[in-house]
Amino acid sequence: MGWWRLARPAVAGGGAGGAAPRAALRSWAMPPDYSGVTFPERTKLKFMEKVPAVPKVQREPRRLRDIRGPSRDATELTQGQYGILALGGGYLHWGHFEMIRLTIGRCMDPKTMFAVWRVPAPHKAVTRKSLGHRMGGGKGPIDHYVTAVKSGRLVVEVGGRCEFEEVKPFLTQVARKLPFPAIPVSRDSLQQMRREEEERRLNNQNPWTFERVVTANMLGMRKYLSPRDLELKGRYWGKYFLKHRV
């Protein structure tokens, strides 16, 4: 209990006199409480097939609108505590899936952490014409399968008896390699991000907002804008999510 047993230099306590370095009372932080964490049966990421079980016969149109705009699915953390959030749209193919699975499988501890997929296996067929041919001759054969990811969607979720600082390094490593911008998030950081967005929207000093101009069709702006810009409100452009815009 005596002060000479405490480690030096310690955190400065109240405004007591004396020259630094001083010993002070050590405050013991409570260890984090992981009582509500339930582990799934398999803690490692499932292997994703390159080609769906029933390969598609009918070649489907490109439909790039599955990349555009904000995501409706998998926007919240459900099973795990941390995840990778996509900040742009893009396609994930089997190579990306393998990279994610192997990197996370290598860096995490399967006894104390678990990881789950939040994107389905590749199901959208992408066709490619053979190289060096002129245009025409019909649609090319199916080359590979991809999954479409919109911005605001979670790709993987990680949880278990671990802290964000433990998980962040390898999640950033994975996020950098994805074809769209992505960041690792935790529950708190996600809430913080949403709160900041809302604050920016509210304390914007500019009286002219994209939403206002588009809904009122000021100066006939809708001639130059897409009908979807009513929902997208100038924050999305194609597959890009414009974070700096309000």
Binding site: A16, S27, Q205, F210, G234, W237
Partner: protein, 223 residues
């Protein structure tokens, strides 16, 4: 992007709020106060108990000593029922500033220890501390009286309480003990004079025969 869309995007950009007084010119808010540490509360309670239960509290400067010297010093002090206590300054200072021992605050700066005891054996404590050069007495609070080092030495030189009580009682009882002899002084003096007179007469009569019968024994009569 179409030129008009470019223009619209440039027009509708985010403008950050600019308060009249920039935030960096204002004092930062006091921040969230750290919640009460249960351990600190326990230590404060112990300090309060020590100050309440002990009659003698001496504050000494403590320089680092070899461990076995420390153990020996504690042993010798323990024999006289004096305990050595270590408290953190940052805990003791708030407790003292809110109690009536405010004047002891300047002592609790730097490395110090407390010697507490329910009895006031200053002489033995000083003798032990004289043999330990690393612990120097700074001040003491004995029976709710704050004493400096000199005061403690003077206090140690005083005779023990029982002896001084006995002295006081003796001094007070001296006068009443003389009352009886004072009252009987006159009669005793007269009796002594008469006895001497009788003895003189008896000696005189024994030398010159016995001319007269023995003197009628006249008792001095009831005074």
């Amino acid at each position: 992007m179409h030129l008009q869309r470019h223009k619209l995007m440039a027009l509708t950009e985010y403008l950050a709020p600019r308060p009249a007084v920039p935030e960096r010119c204002l004092r930062p808010a006091a921040g969230p106060q750290e919640e009460e540490n249960g351990y600190a509360r326990l230590l404060r309670r112990q300090v309060e108990e020590v100050f309440r239960d002990s009659r003698m509290i001496a504050v000494c400067q403590y320089n680092s000593m070899p461990g076995d010297d420390m153990v020996l010093m504690r042993h010798y002090l323990r024999k006289h029922n004096i305990e050595v206590k270590f408290f953190l300054n940052e805990i003791v200072r708030p407790v003292l500033s809110q109690s009536r021992y405010k004047n002891l605050l300047p002592l609790f700066v730097g490395r110090n220890i407390l010697l507490v005891s329910p009895e006031t054996k200053a002489k033995e404590m000083l003798r032990v501390l004289k043999g330990v050069p690393q612990v120097n007495l700074l001040g003491a609070c004995i029976d709710d009286t704050i004493l400096s080092r000199q005061g403690v030495e003077n206090f140690a030189k005083l005779p023990p309480l029982e002896a001084s009580q006995g002295q006081t009682v003796g001094a007070l009882a001296l006068l009443p003990s003389q009352t009886c002899s004072l009252l009987q002084h006159g009669a005793a003096h007269l009796t002594a004079l008469l006895d001497r007179h009788i003895r003189q007469l008896r000696d005189g009569a024994g030398e010159g025969g016995t001319p007269a019968g023995p003197e009628p024994a006249q008792s001095p009569g009831a005074p």
